[in-house]
């Protein structure tokens, strides 16, 4: 039973934490917004606090902008598709009682603990390298010419690396969801003569819907910010420059803080648009 004074006391006690959180979130965002309207090029020792929307106009009108947006969408979309589909299959497999289940599960989850930079380096130098890589040895063993992944199919290569990293996450969430499914429902369906595919389609998949939407939502948030994998493998060349990478180039390589900040704000807006659509989709699923 909250009295007036206890509510006030609670607010007072929460105030420091809330202020800290707000500051944590708002200060960088406000500074980015402030810089995005400024002509701020540190190496030129230029700082002019207000130049209107020039930075925004320049960022969006440059040839690399739409390429970057497309690359980002393809990368996020393809990674989501791969991780969700394979994640469901893996979760189904891991759900079966097998010998050494605990160890297998840990092994499957392990890639998630490898830092992005490390995994990108390993994939680049030990797996995909056209001369020394494991994959090129496999190609040669099969009598084929080794495929040069990073320069011939760069976007696909990065999608593979990122999917490899995020597959364990999807598997983990989906596995727990499958485990929460009541086994008697499946048994009943089996006794009624429902074949395995139908059981999957009409019982397991609807049960997973919520978990899938959560996987999609969380992964999208993180995948929009992919950086290390691109930085280490292609340095943004061969059409793998995402919006995040473009912002990095503008701020740190071109040393144009204003232009980069404008790009950052645009990226925030785009991410929010995507998030709103996703939330709606999630909301629908949660109601159903």
């Amino acid at each position: 039973m909250a009295t007036k004074s206890s509510t006030a006391a609670a607010r007072l006690m929460m105030a420091p934490a809330v202020t800290l959180l707000l500051g944590w979130m708002l200060v960088p965002l406000t500074m980015t917004l402030y810089f995005s309207f400024a002509d701020y090029r540190p190496l030129r020792a230029t700082f002019e606090p207000w130049i209107g929307f020039d930075n925004y106009a320049r960022f969006t009108s440059s040839g690399s902008f739409w390429d970057a947006v497309t690359a980002t969408l393809i990368m996020v979309g393809a990674t989501l598709a791969i991780t969700v589909i394979l994640g469901i299959l893996l979760a189904l497999l891991l759900d079966k009682p097998i010998f050494g289940q605990g160890v297998v599960r840990i092994l499957v989850i392990a890639p998630f603990f490898v830092m992005p930079t490390v995994s990108a380096l390993v994939w680049k130098n030990m797996m995909m390298d056209p001369v020394n890589g494991v994959l090129s040895h496999v190609f040669r063993f099969l009598g084929l010419a080794p495929h040069d992944f990073l320069s011939q199919t760069p976007l696909l290569s990065i999608i593979l690396i990122v999917s490899w990293q995020w597959l364990p996450f999807a598997t983990l969430i989906l596995l727990t969801a499958i485990q929460s499914l009541d086994g008697e429902q499946l048994e009943a369906a089996e006794m009624d003569g429902a074949p395995p595919l139908k059981r999957f389609w009409f019982i397991i998949l609807p049960h997973l819907a919520r978990a899938i939407t959560i996987v999609i939502l969380i992964q999208t948030i993180f995948l929009l910010g992919i950086f290390a994998e691109i930085f280490v493998t292609t340095q943004g060349s061969f059409g793998t420059r995402t919006l995040t990478y473009l912002v990095f180039q503008r701020v740190l390589e071109s040393q144009n803080v204003g232009l980069g900040s404008a790009g950052g704000i645009i990226a925030v807006i785009l991410a929010n648009v995507i998030a709103i659509f996703l939330m709606r989709a999630v909301g629908k699923n949660l109601d159903a």
Binding site: V131, N132, D148, S151, G236, S237, F238, R241, Q255
Partner: protein, 437 residues
């Protein structure tokens, strides 16, 4: 209130703790930001010698090259004052010097012998004739080749080859079935990777990045010839996937014996001739980077140098450190303890006059390479910029990273060379206009 007390207590404590160590009063602690290459790490081991001589303490902040560049650039542009000495390259020194961000090194002591610094190095680290950073180590690029393969091909590498010869030699040494590639070069995107190589190469083809009015020249005939020559040669005689190969990738290919020739930094000579790492250590020869008979060779010039940010409180101590670290005595100390092959190369003429150093197999070729690069006149046609494989303007890193991305995409066959250069010209024009040229 409590915070001030805590601060006071802490200050008092640290004064008590450190006080006795600085009995002579003028001693200070200087903070140095540096890069994590072998020579710099080695220097940290000798810090005690400096402290013994001067009484100053040294704190090191050692960073990887890209991170270092970002940290020191941020610090100097925002007047952060974190460092008393910064390790910077030939790209930063003239730009920062002209902005007044560095303490001019015009009052170094007589025994330091500033005139002993190689003129090419001093030229690249100065602005308007004033030295702003002292070179600790310098490098150029040169041809490293396999003497056994050259002999097997019945060829003889001249000391100063032409590009034609290099291409023919590459053809003769290539055996794709045996994973033997005639030539390995950098194709990786990035202004310090493949971008640096192609710019230096273009110099020897008579190309230039900007004309005297700062108009980008990437749509010129010379650039098309350069890039086409590079791509045709690498497609035919280079390793697969060369479009993603940088220094480290090529080093490992060469050390495994998969390259006939490799044109890259002169420091690599000590790596490929080191039998612990290299399978081909006993059969490596050296030659100047190729030319086309136009008067400019295709080698670059780079130095890691020590500069003092203008805002520092400890400028005098910092100068003492720079005089110590880039002195002849430091070189002798390293040679005495670790051998002549391990001293920091490329900074001083006296090192190359030293008979002990002349016994090192790659010493002479390194010096000749450095001397044949002139950062103040890098191209056949006149240019308004300083720098061989770059133009020392703040916009360069941004422009050239994007340009080299387009070129790498062309190497990978995703677009033609002409398309890549057209895009490169558009990028450069846009950025230069935005920068107000």
């Amino acid at each position: 209130m409590r915070l001030t007390f805590a601060l006071r207590a802490a200050t008092a404590l640290s004064v008590c703790a450190v006080g006795p160590a600085f009995a002579d009063g003028h001693a200070t602690t200087i903070t140095i930001a540096t890069v994590n290459n072998g020579d710099m790490i080695r220097m940290q081991g000798y810090t005690d010698d400096f402290t013994e001589q001067t009484g100053h303490q040294v704190e090191w902040v050692t960073l990887e090259e890209n991170v270092l560049r970002q940290r020191v650039t941020t610090d100097i542009t925002t007047n952060g004052g974190q460092f008393d000495i910064m390790t910077i390259g030939m790209y930063e020194a003239p730009i920062w010097g002209s902005n007044g961000w560095l303490v001019a090194l015009d009052d170094l002591s007589a025994e330091y012998d500033v005139d002993d610094i190689l003129p090419a190095m001093a030229g690249g680290l100065s602005h308007d004739g004033t030295l702003y950073a002292a070179p600790f180590y310098g490098e150029s690029s040169m041809v490293m080749y396999r003497t056994d393969l050259m002999e097997a091909a019945g060829l003889d590498m001249p000391d100063a080859p032409t590009w034609e010869f290099v291409r023919d030699a590459a053809a003769a040494m290539t055996d794709r079935d045996a994973e033997q590639y005639g030539i390995c070069l950098r194709g990786k995107a990035g202004w310090g990777e493949g971008g640096a190589f192609i710019t230096a190469m273009a110099n020897s083809f008579g190309a230039r990045v900007f004309d005297e009015d700062w108009a980008p020249q990437l749509d010129s005939e010379e650039w098309a010839t350069t890039v086409n020559f590079f791509k045709d040669m690498m497609d035919a005689y280079g390793p697969p996937g060369y479009a993603t190969n940088g220094f480290n990738e090529n080093l490992s290919l060469f050390q495994q014996g998969k390259c006939g020739m490799w044109i890259d930094a002169t420091v690599a000579a000590s790596f490929v001739t080191n039998p612990d790492d290299s399978q081909v250590a006993d059969s490596v020869g050296f030659a100047l980077a190729p030319d086309n008979g136009l008067g400019k060779r295709s080698n670059w010039l780079w130095a890691w140098a020590l500069g003092i940010p203008a805002g520092t409180q400890n400028a005098d101590a910092a100068k003492e450190f720079i005089e110590w670290a880039t002195s002849k005595e430091y070189i002798e100390m390293v040679a005495e303890n670790e051998g002549w092959a391990n001293v920091p190369p490329g900074a001083r003429q006296s090192l190359y006059d030293n008979p002990n150093y002349q016994d090192v197999p790659f010493a002479q070729m390194t010096l000749d390479s450095i001397l044949s690069a002139d950062p103040n006149a890098p191209t056949v046609d006149p240019v308004p910029y300083v720098g061989v494989q770059f133009a020392a303007i703040p916009e360069w890193a941004g422009i050239w990273t994007q340009v080299s991305q387009e070129l790498s995409a062309a190497y990978a066959g995703q677009q033609t060379v002409e398309e890549a250069l057209e895009k490169a010209q558009a990028i450069a024009t846009e950025e230069m206009e935005a920068a107000g040229y």
